[in-house]
Symmetry: C2
Subunit: 371 residues, 2 copies
């Protein structure tokens, strides 16, 4: 099957949408949340467990896999899906964001980014065509164009200059692409300036991509600004293509951004929080190390259907966390991912049933009460 | 069901035995290898996975669980099996060995051992009756009597003094026991001195226990000495009780000690090695970090039926190891435990089929060739 996006419906009272992304390796119901598999593994769970939790698409990081083990090795071993034993669709980012957030000595030129590896200090040049080349070697179902992630804060002039570069690179990425079975998404930059975001939409959509991402969010800006950018940008994007908000976020962010018309999300929050013993529930947020859970025989969340909640007490999870046991990380990761997957299931059902605005109000009200 | 040991058969050409240990929580085929669940978790795998790998009984450490989270908490939460979600039989040690190997400031008196916690320096006194009390609170199926683990090297006089204390404590443990559904094993000490081992057997068996362990091995003595002690001691033990060699060992050790009549083993080697990327196979031993596995698309062991070998290449496992990913530890642990479980299955089959001596010769020959 070739890549295709089917828009199945739209909410009456908001921009919320339901859709299906069809890829050569399976279909994905949108709105979707993609767990992050940085190093070709979603940390501390197997692909089978991930699938059982309801995950339909996984994100992997081009920057990390390019540096280690190297994309040519993954190509030789049959591509990233075979490498990591994940049977479903995979989206890879362009590497640009990690160059921006992780690497040493970053220098941008019109041709690409020169950077030093955060692992061994080795020097590399990431160009638009290399970003595509790596992603084609990895064999992901959805590739991302190389962009310059405009930092926050940035002046209008800085954001404009950065945007121009991103548009230029987007064209080169479009040209560099050789594999018809892999989709390619363009990225909308423009900082916090609605005028630049609008221009970015016109220019990037003018090039023509299989989907569009809003980038340059989740880079330290206040939450309200992220929501404003999303609310101003998403409705400008073509209806018939999926819209992906990169690196977002908390459950309430997802609720709000679906409201503004976003279809796709990814974020390390559920997995990283799990490793730190921070658990999402439908009631309060749990910090598992707290002494109050020492003898607590309840599950993390009595409304949750996950393996962890069905079989383990908070007291046991606290014990594992305090003792530094890997099983604690495994069980907390299972719970947090399942919490996100259930949230997205609820979101999709609410849209299907034409009551998304109501669902959102109730969620935000409950969240305000328990915080 | 009450505890019972059924001796099912004995090899013609060796001391090797086949049997079944029946406990209130399931039966165990012997010879058996018990994976070690130090902190009420076999590191990095779920109880369901452990069961699928073929594990029938798990060992948990009284010293660790007494210090953290505390045996009274585990009692309140329904016992260790419920706490850790393991449905099968559990053996707990007495805590004595970890006091000997881990704690600070150990002082032995006739009444018990005064020690400081390795976690927070707090002072505790482990007496024979407390060792039993803790294990009764944990609710294990097989408890171990508190012993003094005679160090290596020790003079005859030291070993004799240590043995006398162990015999005295064994009597107290026998008296302290209040729960009829929990079995209690005595421990044979005596250092490297056959005469003392013989005396230990007479005195400990004279007290009368549900099974007997050979202790004071795997404490730094040469392998040959461990084998000599086992060969000299095991046949002196009553036929109708299981014989447990504590803390042993490598696959070849297990093969040899089954030959001398041992029924039960436990050791951290398969799990600890896995965390260090050392993998057992039927061919060479694999050190997964080696560059030679960088592009190796083969499974760890093409003769192995485990989840890891069915789904992942050495190249991927090397990548996970180098990247410090938890999934690497999980997959390597699965493989190593399965390797041990398969080894024990082969051992039991060989005894059943009356060809254990032959099986052992072939194994040792193959091991010599590949080393």
């Amino acid at each position: 099957m070739q890549y295709e996006f089917k828009l199945l419906g739209k909410d009456r009272d908001s921009e919320a949408r339901r859709g299906t992304i069809i890829t050569p390796h399976g279909s994905v119901n949108t709105p979707v949340f993609m767990p992050v598999g940085t190093q070709a593994t979603v940390k501390s769970i197997t692909p089978e467990t991930l699938r059982e939790l309801g995950a339909e698409m996984v994100l992997a990081n081009t920057y990390h896999l390019y540096l280690r083990p190297g994309h040519e090795i993954i190509r030789k071993l049959g591509g990233i899906r075979k490498f990591m034993n994940w049977q479903g669709p995979i989206l890879t980012d362009s590497g640009g964001f990690q160059v921006y957030s992780l690497s040493l000595l970053r220098r941008i030129s019109p041709e690409g980014v020169t950077f030093q590896s955060h692992i061994d200090g080795s020097r590399h040049v990431l160009t638009p065509s290399l970003a595509i080349g790596i992603q084609e070697a990895l064999g992901s179902d959805i590739m991302m164009a190389l962009d310059e992630c405009t930092p926050y804060p940035a002046t209008f002039a800085e954001a404009e200059k950065s945007l121009s570069l991103t548009v230029q690179w987007a064209k080169w990425c479009r040209t560099a692409k050789t594999q018809s079975h892999q989709a390619l998404f363009g990225i909308i930059q423009g900082g916090i300036y609605p005028e630049l975001r609008k221009r970015a939409v016109e220019e990037i959509c003018g090039i023509g991509f299989d989907g569009y991402a809003i980038g340059g969010v989740s880079v330290g800006e206040p939450r309200n600004l992220m929501l404003d950018i999303t609310a101003a940008t998403a409705p400008l994007l073509p209806q018939e293509r999926p819209r992906y908000l990169m690196g977002v976020g908390m459950p309430s962010d997802i609720i709000d951004c679906v409201y503004h018309g976003i279809d796709m999300f990814d974020c390390v929050i559920p997995t990283r929080s799990a490793r730190h013993g921070l658990l999402f529930t439908n009631q309060e947020k749990i910090v598992i190390k707290h002494a109050r859970y020492r003898e607590d025989e309840l599950p993390l969340d009595s409304t949750c259907d996950c393996y962890t909640c069905r079989n383990y007490s908070r007291a046991y999870l606290r014990h594992l966390h305090v003792a530094g046991e890997i099983l604690g990380i495994m069980l907390c990761t299972i719970h947090n991912i399942r919490h996100y997957m259930r949230l997205l299931e609820q979101i999709r059902t609410a849209i299907d049933e034409g009551r998304y605005a109501e669902f959102r109000s109730e969620f935000l009200k409950r969240a305000a009460e328990s915080s």
